[in-house]
Protein backbone atom coordinates (compact mmCIF):
# COMPACT_ATOMS: atom_id res chain seq x y z
CA UNK A 1 0.00 0.00 0.00
CA UNK A 2 1.41 3.33 -0.97
CA UNK A 3 1.86 5.62 2.00
CA UNK A 4 -0.69 8.35 2.52
CA UNK A 5 0.43 11.80 1.51
CA UNK A 6 -1.06 14.52 3.70
CA UNK A 7 -2.46 17.63 2.04
CA UNK A 8 -0.32 20.76 1.80
CA UNK A 9 -2.66 22.58 4.20
CA UNK A 10 -2.24 19.81 6.73
CA UNK A 11 1.54 19.87 6.39
CA UNK A 12 1.55 23.63 6.78
CA UNK A 13 -0.61 23.32 9.88
CA UNK A 14 1.84 20.84 11.38
CA UNK A 15 4.74 23.22 10.77
CA UNK A 16 3.32 25.95 12.96
CA UNK A 17 3.85 26.02 16.70
CA UNK A 18 0.97 27.94 18.24
CA UNK A 19 1.77 30.73 20.65
CA UNK A 20 -1.09 31.87 22.85
CA UNK A 21 -1.20 34.42 25.62
CA UNK A 22 -0.23 31.93 28.31
CA UNK A 23 0.41 28.65 26.52
CA UNK A 24 2.14 27.09 23.57
CA UNK A 25 0.58 24.38 21.44
CA UNK A 26 1.63 21.79 18.87
CA UNK A 27 5.13 21.69 20.30
CA UNK A 28 6.94 18.44 19.44
CA UNK A 29 7.87 17.37 15.92
CA UNK A 30 5.70 14.60 14.58
CA UNK A 31 7.51 13.76 11.37
CA UNK A 32 8.43 10.25 12.46
CA UNK A 33 7.35 6.92 11.01
CA UNK A 34 4.41 5.55 12.95
CA UNK A 35 3.19 8.85 14.30
CA UNK A 36 0.59 9.56 11.63
CA UNK A 37 -1.18 6.36 10.58
CA UNK A 38 -0.43 5.41 7.01
CA UNK A 39 2.12 8.13 6.38
CA UNK A 40 5.76 7.33 5.70
CA UNK A 41 8.07 10.00 7.22
CA UNK A 42 11.07 7.67 6.94
CA UNK A 43 14.45 9.23 6.36
CA UNK A 44 15.06 9.80 2.64
CA UNK A 45 18.14 11.74 1.76
CA UNK A 46 16.98 12.43 -1.80
CA UNK A 47 13.80 14.02 -0.44
CA UNK A 48 15.90 16.10 1.92
CA UNK A 49 18.21 17.11 -0.90
CA UNK A 50 15.54 17.86 -3.49
CA UNK A 51 15.68 21.40 -4.76
CA UNK A 52 12.29 23.01 -4.45
CA UNK A 53 10.99 25.21 -7.24
CA UNK A 54 10.69 27.97 -4.70
CA UNK A 55 14.38 28.78 -4.85
CA UNK A 56 14.14 29.53 -8.54
CA UNK A 57 11.05 31.68 -8.41
CA UNK A 58 11.69 33.41 -5.14
CA UNK A 59 12.12 36.79 -6.73
CA UNK A 60 9.10 36.76 -9.04
CA UNK A 61 6.10 37.75 -6.98
CA UNK A 62 4.88 37.62 -3.48
CA UNK A 63 1.77 35.74 -4.46
CA UNK A 64 3.68 33.00 -6.21
CA UNK A 65 6.05 32.73 -3.33
CA UNK A 66 3.24 32.18 -0.93
CA UNK A 67 1.90 29.34 -2.99
CA UNK A 68 5.32 27.80 -3.35
CA UNK A 69 6.23 28.16 0.28
CA UNK A 70 3.48 25.71 0.94
CA UNK A 71 4.99 23.15 -1.39
CA UNK A 72 7.93 22.41 0.85
CA UNK A 73 7.86 19.51 3.14
CA UNK A 74 10.94 17.50 3.79
CA UNK A 75 13.48 19.17 1.58
CA UNK A 76 16.14 21.33 3.07
CA UNK A 77 16.95 24.92 2.11
CA UNK A 78 19.38 27.61 3.14
CA UNK A 79 18.75 31.34 2.82
CA UNK A 80 21.38 33.92 3.62
CA UNK A 81 20.50 37.25 5.22
CA UNK A 82 23.94 38.53 6.02
CA UNK A 83 27.49 37.31 5.59
CA UNK A 84 30.28 39.34 7.14
CA UNK A 85 33.52 38.28 8.71
CA UNK A 86 32.32 38.83 12.24
CA UNK A 87 28.64 38.12 11.76
CA UNK A 88 26.62 35.83 9.59
CA UNK A 89 22.87 35.34 9.61
CA UNK A 90 21.10 32.65 7.63
CA UNK A 91 17.99 30.49 7.70
CA UNK A 92 18.08 26.73 7.69
CA UNK A 93 14.68 25.52 6.56
CA UNK A 94 13.43 21.96 6.79
CA UNK A 95 15.68 20.78 9.57
CA UNK A 96 14.72 19.15 12.85
CA UNK A 97 15.40 21.04 16.07
CA UNK A 98 17.68 18.27 17.31
CA UNK A 99 20.03 18.70 14.36
CA UNK A 100 19.92 22.51 14.37
CA UNK A 101 20.68 22.41 18.08
CA UNK A 102 23.59 20.04 17.51
CA UNK A 103 25.09 22.54 15.07
CA UNK A 104 24.62 25.37 17.54
CA UNK A 105 26.18 23.44 20.40
CA UNK A 106 29.12 22.37 18.25
CA UNK A 107 29.67 25.97 17.15
CA UNK A 108 30.05 27.07 20.74
CA UNK A 109 31.88 24.17 22.29
CA UNK A 110 33.49 21.80 19.84
CA UNK A 111 35.30 23.65 17.08
CA UNK A 112 39.01 23.68 17.80
CA UNK A 113 40.79 27.02 18.01
CA UNK A 114 44.11 28.35 19.26
CA UNK A 115 44.38 30.29 22.53
CA UNK A 116 47.04 31.10 25.08
CA UNK A 117 47.23 28.18 27.47
CA UNK A 118 50.56 28.34 29.31
CA UNK A 119 52.15 31.56 30.52
CA UNK A 120 55.75 31.56 31.73
CA UNK A 121 56.31 34.71 33.71
CA UNK A 122 59.93 35.79 33.86
CA UNK A 123 59.21 39.15 35.37
CA UNK A 124 56.05 40.95 36.37
CA UNK A 125 56.40 44.04 38.47
CA UNK A 126 53.09 45.53 37.35
CA UNK A 127 50.25 45.94 39.83
CA UNK A 128 48.34 43.07 38.23
CA UNK A 129 49.00 39.73 39.85
CA UNK A 130 50.55 36.97 37.78
CA UNK A 131 47.49 34.72 37.80
CA UNK A 132 45.09 37.52 36.94
CA UNK A 133 47.30 38.62 34.08
CA UNK A 134 47.61 35.06 32.79
CA UNK A 135 43.83 34.66 32.87
CA UNK A 136 43.35 37.91 30.94
CA UNK A 137 45.86 36.86 28.32
CA UNK A 138 44.11 33.54 27.76
CA UNK A 139 40.91 35.29 26.71
CA UNK A 140 42.51 37.30 23.88
CA UNK A 141 41.23 35.94 20.56
CA UNK A 142 44.04 35.15 18.14
CA UNK A 143 44.01 34.96 14.37
CA UNK A 144 46.42 33.49 11.87
CA UNK A 145 46.62 31.27 8.82
CA UNK A 146 43.58 28.96 8.88
CA UNK A 147 45.60 26.36 7.03
CA UNK A 148 48.27 26.58 9.70
CA UNK A 149 45.74 26.30 12.52
CA UNK A 150 44.24 23.22 10.89
CA UNK A 151 47.72 21.76 10.52
CA UNK A 152 48.39 22.19 14.23
CA UNK A 153 47.77 19.22 16.48
CA UNK A 154 46.58 18.81 20.03
CA UNK A 155 48.95 19.26 22.89
CA UNK A 156 48.74 16.02 24.82
CA UNK A 157 48.69 16.68 28.52
CA UNK A 158 49.61 14.22 31.23
CA UNK A 159 46.47 12.86 32.87
CA UNK A 160 45.85 11.67 36.40
CA UNK A 161 46.16 8.07 35.26
CA UNK A 162 49.61 8.86 33.95
CA UNK A 163 50.48 9.09 30.31
CA UNK A 164 53.25 11.17 28.96
CA UNK A 165 52.96 14.81 28.15
CA UNK A 166 54.06 15.95 24.74
CA UNK A 167 56.79 18.51 24.95
CA UNK A 168 56.07 21.76 23.16
CA UNK A 169 56.74 21.22 19.45
CA UNK A 170 56.22 23.31 16.33
CA UNK A 171 53.02 21.35 15.57
CA UNK A 172 51.37 21.78 18.95
CA UNK A 173 52.56 25.05 20.46
CA UNK A 174 52.72 28.60 19.22
CA UNK A 175 55.05 30.87 21.12
CA UNK A 176 54.33 34.53 21.78
CA UNK A 177 56.46 36.92 23.76
CA UNK A 178 55.39 39.89 25.79
CA UNK A 179 58.28 42.08 26.81
CA UNK A 180 57.47 45.65 27.85
CA UNK A 181 58.98 48.07 30.27
CA UNK A 182 57.60 51.44 31.20
CA UNK A 183 59.80 54.51 31.50
CA UNK A 184 59.51 58.27 31.58
CA UNK A 185 59.12 60.13 28.33
CA UNK A 186 61.84 62.78 28.21
CA UNK A 187 60.04 64.79 25.55
CA UNK A 188 56.75 65.10 27.37
CA UNK A 189 55.49 68.60 28.08
CA UNK A 190 56.03 69.85 31.64
CA UNK A 191 52.34 70.08 32.49
CA UNK A 192 51.33 66.89 30.69
CA UNK A 193 48.67 64.92 32.56
CA UNK A 194 48.03 62.00 30.20
CA UNK A 195 50.10 59.02 31.40
CA UNK A 196 50.26 57.67 27.85
CA UNK A 197 52.23 60.76 26.80
CA UNK A 198 54.05 61.21 30.06
CA UNK A 199 55.47 57.67 29.96
CA UNK A 200 56.40 55.21 27.27
CA UNK A 201 54.53 51.88 27.42
CA UNK A 202 52.14 53.08 30.12
CA UNK A 203 49.48 50.88 28.49
CA UNK A 204 50.20 47.35 27.39
CA UNK A 205 48.01 46.33 24.46
CA UNK A 206 47.37 43.05 22.70
CA UNK A 207 49.45 44.35 19.79
CA UNK A 208 52.53 44.10 22.03
CA UNK A 209 52.30 40.30 21.87
CA UNK A 210 55.00 39.22 19.47
CA UNK A 211 54.86 35.96 17.56
CA UNK A 212 57.99 33.86 17.29
CA UNK A 213 57.61 31.18 14.61
CA UNK A 214 59.25 27.86 15.32
CA UNK A 215 60.18 25.13 12.79
CA UNK A 216 57.48 24.50 10.19
CA UNK A 217 55.39 27.36 11.53
CA UNK A 218 57.51 29.63 9.33
CA UNK A 219 55.86 28.07 6.26
CA UNK A 220 52.32 28.66 7.46
CA UNK A 221 52.34 31.81 9.51
CA UNK A 222 53.96 34.37 7.23
CA UNK A 223 53.03 37.82 5.97
CA UNK A 224 49.38 38.58 6.72
CA UNK A 225 48.98 35.12 8.17
CA UNK A 226 51.13 35.51 11.26
CA UNK A 227 49.58 34.69 14.61
CA UNK A 228 48.32 37.95 16.06
CA UNK A 229 45.48 39.16 18.25
CA UNK A 230 42.27 39.76 16.29
CA UNK A 231 41.90 43.13 17.95
CA UNK A 232 45.26 44.85 18.54
CA UNK A 233 43.80 47.38 20.97
CA UNK A 234 42.80 45.13 23.84
CA UNK A 235 44.22 46.63 27.01
CA UNK A 236 46.21 44.00 28.91
CA UNK A 237 47.79 46.01 31.74
CA UNK A 238 48.79 49.51 32.81
CA UNK A 239 52.33 50.27 33.91
CA UNK A 240 54.21 53.09 35.59
CA UNK A 241 57.92 53.94 35.21
CA UNK A 242 60.13 51.17 36.55
CA UNK A 243 57.51 48.46 36.08
CA UNK A 244 58.03 45.74 33.51
CA UNK A 245 56.41 42.60 32.18
CA UNK A 246 58.44 39.83 30.58
CA UNK A 247 56.74 36.60 29.71
CA UNK A 248 56.61 33.76 27.25
CA UNK A 249 53.16 32.62 26.19
CA UNK A 250 52.41 29.19 24.78
CA UNK A 251 49.27 28.88 22.67
CA UNK A 252 47.67 25.51 22.14
CA UNK A 253 44.72 24.02 20.36
CA UNK A 254 41.59 23.39 22.39
CA UNK A 255 37.79 23.37 22.32
CA UNK A 256 35.18 25.52 24.00
CA UNK A 257 33.93 22.61 26.09
CA UNK A 258 37.26 22.70 27.90
CA UNK A 259 37.48 26.47 28.36
CA UNK A 260 35.42 29.34 26.95
CA UNK A 261 38.58 31.01 25.63
CA UNK A 262 38.70 28.30 22.94
CA UNK A 263 35.15 29.03 21.77
CA UNK A 264 35.36 30.42 18.22
CA UNK A 265 32.10 32.35 18.51
CA UNK A 266 30.99 35.33 20.51
CA UNK A 267 27.41 34.13 20.09
CA UNK A 268 25.83 31.37 18.09
CA UNK A 269 22.07 31.23 18.39
CA UNK A 270 18.94 30.50 16.46
CA UNK A 271 15.32 31.53 16.66
CA UNK A 272 12.28 30.16 14.90
CA UNK A 273 10.64 32.21 12.18
CA UNK A 274 7.62 34.02 13.64
CA UNK A 275 4.26 33.50 12.00
CA UNK A 276 1.39 35.98 12.27
CA UNK A 277 -2.04 35.22 10.91
CA UNK A 278 -4.73 37.88 10.91
CA UNK A 279 -7.87 35.76 10.89
CA UNK A 280 -10.49 38.50 10.96
CA UNK A 281 -10.18 42.03 9.58
CA UNK A 282 -8.59 44.66 11.81
CA UNK A 283 -9.67 48.08 10.53
CA UNK A 284 -9.29 51.80 11.10
CA UNK A 285 -7.89 52.99 14.40
CA UNK A 286 -7.72 49.40 15.61
CA UNK A 287 -5.31 48.67 12.76
CA UNK A 288 -3.04 51.49 13.87
CA UNK A 289 -3.13 50.28 17.45
CA UNK A 290 -2.49 46.74 16.24
CA UNK A 291 0.59 47.82 14.29
CA UNK A 292 1.92 49.46 17.46
CA UNK A 293 1.85 46.10 19.25
CA UNK A 294 4.64 44.90 16.97
CA UNK A 295 8.12 46.11 16.13
CA UNK A 296 8.27 48.68 13.32
CA UNK A 297 7.66 47.32 9.86
CA UNK A 298 6.08 44.03 10.91
CA UNK A 299 2.49 45.17 10.40
CA UNK A 300 1.59 47.46 7.52
CA UNK A 301 -1.57 49.41 6.75
CA UNK A 302 -3.36 49.10 3.43
CA UNK A 303 -6.66 50.47 2.18
CA UNK A 304 -9.50 48.04 1.74
CA UNK A 305 -10.11 47.74 -2.00
CA UNK A 306 -13.60 48.01 -3.43
CA UNK A 307 -13.33 44.41 -4.63
CA UNK A 308 -12.73 43.21 -1.08
CA UNK A 309 -15.55 45.35 0.22
CA UNK A 310 -17.87 43.90 -2.37
CA UNK A 311 -17.12 40.34 -1.35
CA UNK A 312 -19.71 38.90 0.96
CA UNK A 313 -18.52 37.29 4.19
CA UNK A 314 -15.07 38.76 3.91
CA UNK A 315 -15.68 41.06 6.86
CA UNK A 316 -14.78 44.07 4.73
CA UNK A 317 -18.34 44.85 3.56
CA UNK A 318 -18.93 48.57 3.58
CA UNK A 319 -15.39 49.38 4.63
CA UNK A 320 -13.97 50.30 1.23
CA UNK A 321 -11.16 52.84 1.57
CA UNK A 322 -10.59 52.19 5.26
CA UNK A 323 -7.17 51.14 6.52
CA UNK A 324 -6.66 47.47 7.31
CA UNK A 325 -3.76 45.77 9.05
CA UNK A 326 -1.65 43.38 6.99
CA UNK A 327 1.42 41.32 7.86
CA UNK A 328 4.39 42.85 6.07
CA UNK A 329 7.44 41.31 7.66
CA UNK A 330 6.93 38.53 10.18
CA UNK A 331 10.68 37.85 10.10
CA UNK A 332 11.40 40.93 12.22
CA UNK A 333 8.79 40.15 14.83
CA UNK A 334 9.84 39.35 18.37
CA UNK A 335 6.64 37.41 19.20
CA UNK A 336 6.13 39.57 22.25
CA UNK A 337 2.43 38.59 22.39
CA UNK A 338 1.57 42.20 23.18
CA UNK A 339 -1.40 42.09 20.78
CA UNK A 340 -2.95 39.22 22.75
CA UNK A 341 -3.21 41.44 25.84
CA UNK A 342 -5.81 43.60 24.09
CA UNK A 343 -9.33 42.19 24.03
CA UNK A 344 -10.13 43.69 20.63
CA UNK A 345 -7.38 41.65 18.94
CA UNK A 346 -7.56 38.46 20.97
CA UNK A 347 -9.71 36.48 18.56
CA UNK A 348 -8.61 38.18 15.37
CA UNK A 349 -4.98 37.14 15.31
CA UNK A 350 -3.07 33.90 15.66
CA UNK A 351 0.61 33.99 16.60
CA UNK A 352 3.02 31.16 16.01
CA UNK A 353 6.45 30.10 14.95
CA UNK A 354 7.53 27.87 12.11
CA UNK A 355 8.87 24.67 13.62
CA UNK A 356 11.52 23.91 11.02
CA UNK A 357 12.69 27.39 10.04
CA UNK A 358 15.80 28.23 12.05
CA UNK A 359 17.21 31.73 11.77
CA UNK A 360 20.81 31.33 12.82
CA UNK A 361 23.00 34.16 13.95
CA UNK A 362 26.71 33.41 14.25
CA UNK A 363 29.22 35.96 15.48
CA UNK A 364 32.81 34.90 15.08
CA UNK A 365 35.55 36.07 17.42
CA UNK A 366 37.78 36.44 14.38
CA UNK A 367 39.87 33.31 14.09
CA UNK A 368 37.57 32.00 11.34
CA UNK A 369 34.99 33.75 9.21
CA UNK A 370 31.46 33.28 10.52
CA UNK A 371 30.23 31.27 7.53
CA UNK A 372 33.29 29.04 7.65
CA UNK A 373 32.53 28.33 11.28
CA UNK A 374 29.16 26.85 10.43
CA UNK A 375 30.72 24.62 7.80
CA UNK A 376 33.27 23.56 10.40
CA UNK A 377 30.46 22.69 12.78
CA UNK A 378 28.83 20.46 10.17
CA UNK A 379 32.20 18.85 9.55
CA UNK A 380 32.69 18.18 13.25
CA UNK A 381 29.28 16.51 13.53
CA UNK A 382 30.07 14.29 10.58
CA UNK A 383 33.48 13.46 11.99
CA UNK A 384 31.95 12.48 15.31
CA UNK A 385 29.46 10.20 13.56
CA UNK A 386 32.23 8.62 11.57
CA UNK A 387 34.32 8.01 14.65
CA UNK A 388 31.53 6.42 16.63
CA UNK A 389 30.54 4.35 13.65
CA UNK A 390 34.05 3.01 13.44
CA UNK A 391 33.76 2.11 17.12
CA UNK A 392 30.74 -0.02 16.25
CA UNK A 393 32.91 -2.54 14.42
CA UNK A 394 34.26 -3.65 17.79
CA UNK A 395 30.74 -4.44 18.93
CA UNK A 396 29.99 -6.40 15.80
CA UNK A 397 33.07 -8.59 16.05
Amino acid sequence: MAPLVPSQEELQRRRIIGINAETVTNIPSTDFPGHWPGESHGWAVDEFQKVCAQTFFRAITCAIEQILTICIEQNFQVEFHRNDQFEASFSLIGLDASVANAFRRILMAEIPTIAIEDVFIHNNTSVIQDEVLAQRLGLIPLKGSVEGINWMQWFKKATEEGGEEDGPCDFNTIVLHLDVECYKNEHAAKDEQDPRKLYTNAHVYAKDLLFTPVGRQEQYFVGDNVIAPVNPDILIAKLRPGQAIQMELHCQKGIGADHAKFSPVATASYRLLPDIKIERPILGDDAKKFAKCFPKGVIGLESVTSAEAAKRGSGYEGHAGEQKAVVKDAFSDTVSRECLRHDEFKDKVKLGRVRDHFIFNVESTGQFDSDVLFLEAVKVLKLKCNRWKRGLTDLMA
Binding site: H41, G42, W43, V99, A109, W154, K384, A397
Partner: protein, 138 residues
Protein backbone atom coordinates in the same frame (compact mmCIF):
# COMPACT_ATOMS: atom_id res chain seq x y z
CA UNK B 1 25.51 -10.55 16.58
CA UNK B 2 23.96 -11.62 13.28
CA UNK B 3 26.19 -12.70 10.44
CA UNK B 4 24.62 -10.22 8.04
CA UNK B 5 25.89 -7.32 10.05
CA UNK B 6 29.40 -8.66 10.03
CA UNK B 7 29.48 -9.43 6.35
CA UNK B 8 28.29 -5.95 5.41
CA UNK B 9 31.33 -4.46 6.96
CA UNK B 10 33.92 -3.83 4.25
CA UNK B 11 37.22 -5.58 4.81
CA UNK B 12 39.39 -2.73 5.93
CA UNK B 13 42.66 -4.41 5.02
CA UNK B 14 41.58 -4.75 1.40
CA UNK B 15 40.70 -1.13 0.91
CA UNK B 16 43.40 1.32 0.08
CA UNK B 17 41.91 3.85 2.38
CA UNK B 18 42.25 7.47 1.48
CA UNK B 19 43.94 9.64 4.01
CA UNK B 20 41.38 10.70 6.58
CA UNK B 21 39.69 13.97 5.72
CA UNK B 22 41.34 15.74 8.57
CA UNK B 23 44.64 14.42 9.73
CA UNK B 24 44.59 17.16 12.33
CA UNK B 25 41.74 15.90 14.40
CA UNK B 26 42.93 12.32 14.24
CA UNK B 27 44.76 12.60 17.51
CA UNK B 28 41.93 14.44 19.16
CA UNK B 29 42.16 13.49 22.83
CA UNK B 30 38.48 14.24 23.20
CA UNK B 31 37.40 11.62 20.75
CA UNK B 32 40.19 9.15 21.23
CA UNK B 33 39.96 5.96 23.23
CA UNK B 34 36.30 6.27 23.85
CA UNK B 35 34.08 3.37 23.32
CA UNK B 36 30.55 2.25 22.96
CA UNK B 37 29.39 -0.26 25.55
CA UNK B 38 26.29 -2.40 25.17
CA UNK B 39 24.51 -2.31 28.49
CA UNK B 40 23.40 -5.60 30.10
CA UNK B 41 20.05 -7.09 29.13
CA UNK B 42 20.41 -6.47 25.41
CA UNK B 43 18.79 -8.65 22.80
CA UNK B 44 19.22 -8.44 19.03
CA UNK B 45 16.29 -6.11 18.57
CA UNK B 46 16.43 -4.16 21.81
CA UNK B 47 19.59 -2.73 23.27
CA UNK B 48 20.96 0.21 25.21
CA UNK B 49 24.29 1.65 24.19
CA UNK B 50 26.52 3.74 26.37
CA UNK B 51 28.61 6.45 24.73
CA UNK B 52 31.47 7.73 26.79
CA UNK B 53 32.10 11.44 26.77
CA UNK B 54 29.11 12.25 24.63
CA UNK B 55 26.32 14.68 25.48
CA UNK B 56 23.11 16.18 24.14
CA UNK B 57 24.84 17.38 20.98
CA UNK B 58 25.21 13.93 19.52
CA UNK B 59 22.52 12.31 21.65
CA UNK B 60 19.53 14.23 20.43
CA UNK B 61 20.65 14.40 16.79
CA UNK B 62 21.32 10.67 16.79
CA UNK B 63 17.98 9.95 18.42
CA UNK B 64 16.27 11.92 15.66
CA UNK B 65 18.14 10.07 12.92
CA UNK B 66 17.35 6.68 14.42
CA UNK B 67 13.68 7.55 14.98
CA UNK B 68 13.43 8.36 11.28
CA UNK B 69 14.03 4.69 10.55
CA UNK B 70 10.67 2.95 9.98
CA UNK B 71 12.04 -0.31 11.40
CA UNK B 72 12.68 1.33 14.76
CA UNK B 73 9.89 0.99 17.29
CA UNK B 74 11.46 3.08 19.99
CA UNK B 75 14.52 5.23 20.38
CA UNK B 76 15.44 7.54 23.20
CA UNK B 77 18.53 8.97 24.78
CA UNK B 78 19.43 10.00 28.28
CA UNK B 79 22.32 11.34 30.27
CA UNK B 80 21.76 9.40 33.49
CA UNK B 81 23.90 11.62 35.64
CA UNK B 82 25.02 15.15 34.77
CA UNK B 83 28.46 14.79 36.30
CA UNK B 84 29.13 11.49 34.51
CA UNK B 85 30.14 12.19 30.92
CA UNK B 86 28.06 9.29 29.63
CA UNK B 87 25.14 9.17 27.24
CA UNK B 88 22.78 6.23 26.84
CA UNK B 89 20.83 5.47 23.69
CA UNK B 90 18.02 2.93 23.85
CA UNK B 91 16.92 1.34 20.61
CA UNK B 92 14.10 -1.15 20.08
CA UNK B 93 13.42 -2.37 16.58
CA UNK B 94 11.06 -4.66 14.72
CA UNK B 95 12.28 -8.09 13.66
CA UNK B 96 13.33 -6.80 10.26
CA UNK B 97 16.53 -5.32 11.63
CA UNK B 98 18.69 -5.24 14.76
CA UNK B 99 19.39 -2.49 17.25
CA UNK B 100 22.99 -2.39 16.13
CA UNK B 101 22.07 -2.04 12.48
CA UNK B 102 19.64 0.72 13.36
CA UNK B 103 22.38 2.53 15.24
CA UNK B 104 24.73 2.23 12.29
CA UNK B 105 22.04 3.43 9.92
CA UNK B 106 21.46 6.37 12.26
CA UNK B 107 25.09 7.39 11.92
CA UNK B 108 25.00 6.94 8.16
CA UNK B 109 21.83 9.01 7.78
CA UNK B 110 23.23 11.75 9.96
CA UNK B 111 26.38 11.86 7.86
CA UNK B 112 24.32 12.03 4.65
CA UNK B 113 22.38 14.90 6.21
CA UNK B 114 25.63 16.70 7.02
CA UNK B 115 26.74 16.34 3.39
CA UNK B 116 23.51 17.87 2.10
CA UNK B 117 23.69 20.70 4.63
CA UNK B 118 27.27 21.50 3.62
CA UNK B 119 26.44 21.41 -0.06
CA UNK B 120 23.34 23.60 0.17
CA UNK B 121 24.92 25.98 2.65
CA UNK B 122 27.93 26.50 0.41
CA UNK B 123 25.89 27.15 -2.71
CA UNK B 124 23.50 29.51 -0.89
CA UNK B 125 26.45 31.42 0.53
CA UNK B 126 28.23 31.68 -2.81
CA UNK B 127 25.05 32.89 -4.46
CA UNK B 128 24.49 35.42 -1.71
CA UNK B 129 28.08 36.69 -1.91
CA UNK B 130 27.78 37.03 -5.66
CA UNK B 131 24.50 38.94 -5.42
CA UNK B 132 25.69 41.27 -2.67
CA UNK B 133 28.96 41.78 -4.54
CA UNK B 134 27.00 42.86 -7.61
CA UNK B 135 24.89 45.19 -5.56
CA UNK B 136 27.97 46.91 -4.19
CA UNK B 137 29.34 47.53 -7.67
CA UNK B 138 26.14 49.23 -8.83
Amino acid sequence: MPESVHSQDPDQSMVDAEQPEQEVVSNDPILEERQIVVLPGATDTAASFQFEGEGHTMGNALRYAIMKNPAVEFCGYTIPHPSDAKMHVRIQTTDSTTALEALEKGFNDLMDLCDVVTEKFTSARDQFNEESGNRMEV
